[in-house]
């Protein structure tokens, strides 16, 4: 019977999995099954985070890729016929989702921001055009396969005791394997932009990398973190990738966002426009950022930044 069809959630990241479990529980009162790759304890943990049952796929053992579980998952989906399959939107998650969907003659609704039930239909909302537009779609496929990013749902507080069954799922050997030669860890992020209460964002208005010194000084004076727009991180490599704000970078909601020499392209705005107060400094009065700003200063940043730092320091 349709009502007995479940919502399945999968993510190789336990924290994201917890969010998806919570989100799944808001989708029409179905039972939630969590699919877990990793330690057995992670599967058990899922049961305390709201999953009605947990399916443990096993541990990669450092040899297998997460993606190697695609054939296993495909077989299980065909047998278990869930109504919805939510997959955490990470690079690995997207790979799993896409390949799984192709196996099942299905597709993936990506980076969903909101689910809505209308009649018997499931509607999803996500961004397109680099953040320039919101698209609402009605899912037509069975199951509905969707990826969801971190921060869309909030995890439930863990229950004291786990309720629900856990099963072990046999591994189906994939048709091809990419052989893992090495894992190179990335240095841990030096900054947690999402946690910063105040952020100064440097844009292409800065002529030289050395000018970041002015930005740093202002940041120190204000007690703010330093961020940048995508070109400064990905093209010019003046700052590490973790510091860039934008639709494919970090999304922040600080009390203060201060853009210096930032023009305000849609792809960047989408990453910061939920800030409480937005200040912009740019020499071009027609820069789009001014429409997104509470306080806009049209002028030369090379003259105004030093004056600003001085004015802040001069306060009693």
């Amino acid at each position: 019977m349709a009502e007995q069809r479940e919502i399945w959630v999968f993510s190789e990241k336990p924290a994201l999995l917890a969010e998806l479990i919570a989100g799944a529980k808001t989708l029409g009162g179905r039972r939630v099954a969590a699919w877990v790759v990793g330690a057995r304890s992670s599967a058990a943990q899922a049961l305390t985070q709201g999953a009605d049952r947990a399916a443990w796929l096993g541990d990669t053992g450092g040899e297998r890729l997460v993606e190697d579980y695609v054939p296993t998952l495909a077989q299980q989906v065909q047998a278990g016929a869930p109504a919805v399959l939510l997959i955490g939107s990470t690079r690995r998650g997207r790979a799993v989702a896409g390949r799984l969907a192709a196996r099942l003659d299905n597709t993936v609704l990506t980076d969903v921001l909101e689910f809505q039930s209308e009649g018997g239909d499931l509607l999803i909302r996500h961004m397109i055009f680099g953040g320039g537009a919101v698209r609402v779609e009605k899912a037509l496929a069975q199951p509905v396969i969707a990826t969801v990013g971190s921060g869309v749902f909030a995890p439930l507080p863990p229950a004291a005791a786990a309720q629900g069954e856990m099963v072990e799922v046999p591994f189906v050997e994939p048709e091809w394997r990419a052989r893992l030669i090495e894992r190179k860890p990335r240095p841990p992020a030096a900054v947690n932009l999402a946690a910063a209460r105040k952020v100064i964002c440097a844009g292409r208005g800065l002529a030289r990398q050395e000018d970041l010194a002015m930005i740093n000084e202002l940041a120190r004076a204000l007690g703010a973190e330093v961020a940048c727009t995508r070109p400064l991180a990905e093209g010019l490599n003046w700052l590490p990738r973790e510091r860039y704000i934008g639709i494919s970078g970090a999304t922040i909601k600080p009390d203060l966002y201060f853009g210096v020499g930032v023009s305000g392209q849609a792809q960047h705005i989408i990453g910061m426009n939920r800030s409480k107060v937005v200040v912009a400094l740019n020499k071009d009065s027609s820069a789009p950022i001014f429409q997104q700003a509470d306080y806009g200063v049209v002028g030369d940043l090379y003259a105004i930044l030093p004056a600003l730092v001085q004015a802040i320091k001069a306060r009693p």
């Binding site: 990470t90 055009f129 320039g132 537009a133 893992l180 509470d294």
Partner: protein, 258 residues
Amino acid sequence: MNIIVCVKFTPDAGDIQVNSDGSISLERAEWGIGSFDLQAVEAGARLAEATGGKVMALSAGPRQINHSKLKKDLLSRGPDELYLVVDDALQDAGTAATARVLAGAIGKLGPFDLVLCGEGSADLYFQQVGLQLGEMLGLPTLNAIRKIETAADGLRVERDLDDEIEVLAVPMPAVLAVTTDVHEPRLPTMKEILKAGKKPVTEWTLADLGLSGGLAKHSAVVSIRAPHQVQRKNIRIEGSPEEAAQALVGYLNKEGLI
């Protein structure tokens, strides 16, 4: 190595027009090669040059892609041949349908060792077609590839994941979705632009690929609207640098930020 590079021509999302009722129009937008595809083209061109093979560029889309400016631009960046599947039904095709069309076109191309795609399209950025395409072709398929090298037993790739980099050996033929780090796209030279006009272009319709029965639809678009804008104060601060600085400090103080 013979390499197929899949490219999406898209309208420039920066040219988006928002109507007063919140609806969106891209009618006045200029079409171009997707900004995430340029790096895939460059990676393909470099690999072909290094290994003495050829690059076949492939694109599927509505009639707007069949424009000499777009074709020439793509052919001036390294590909030796261009294959276009042109059909207005592709205008709003979903990723699975697009992947199905590309798979069908690839079936008509000669032998190949590698298919390269950008991580996502410039307009939608769903980051799916490359992955779905590879699976439909039944080939080793990986995304987030930031480096590709040839090795004795196939390819050696680096995969850029959120918390680490996987170095992998991948058998060929394979399908790889590459990140923007994989190669800085070249600036076409005058000579390459001139040569582009003489390279072979093949055009197919969906019927040519045996897909005239229509494309699968897994979702229906309900609406496309401008995102809700937070109403900002839009206060302009003017004057000399010192005056502006003082004014701004005053406002920041009032907002309780300093």
